[in-house]
Subunit: 86 residues, 2 copies
């Protein structure tokens, strides 16, 4: 790949459909992320078998975003601790 | 609500559909998370107008999971810094 072209296309399978992910993340990371999303969709499906795939995917996004927001709070608390320690 | 029943049902609207979120998170947090997911779906739609809603939702989940994984790495690095400093 040329220096100008640092975006890559990576194909992953999630919930029986193929997705082309465009970005600058390493292939291994994209594949790991896809597996995590697939696993979370399966877990939510197991707990709510009546959900269609769109609702399942939206709830997976909500669930992950909630984890992100909580981790971000913890991250900011850690940062503050480090600042106070200086 | 009784002490035994600390799980709440909160209704939110994401991408023109209503979702009932069951959990112990505060209402404000659930609504904030739903807004963030809705915003990310709109952004991905703006960049890829041909995507159907399911693909859009899955890509939103992938995008959010990627942010989570990266933040988790940074969080662990901070933790390690604090440990080394002790």
């Amino acid at each position: 790949m040329s220096e100008q072209e640092d975006k890559m296309k990576i194909s992953v399978e999630i919930y029986n459909r193929t997705y082309t992910i465009v970005g600058s993340e390493p292939k291994e990371q994209v594949e790991q992320v896809a597996q995590l999303v697939n696993k979370k969709m399966e877990d939510i499906h197991d707990a709510n078998k009546h959900l269609d795939t769109t609702k399942l995917a939206v709830l997976t996004a909500v669930n992950t975003m909630n984890d992100y927001v909580k981790l971000k709070e913890e991250y900011n608390e850690l940062l503050q601790l480090i600042e106070e320690d200086k």
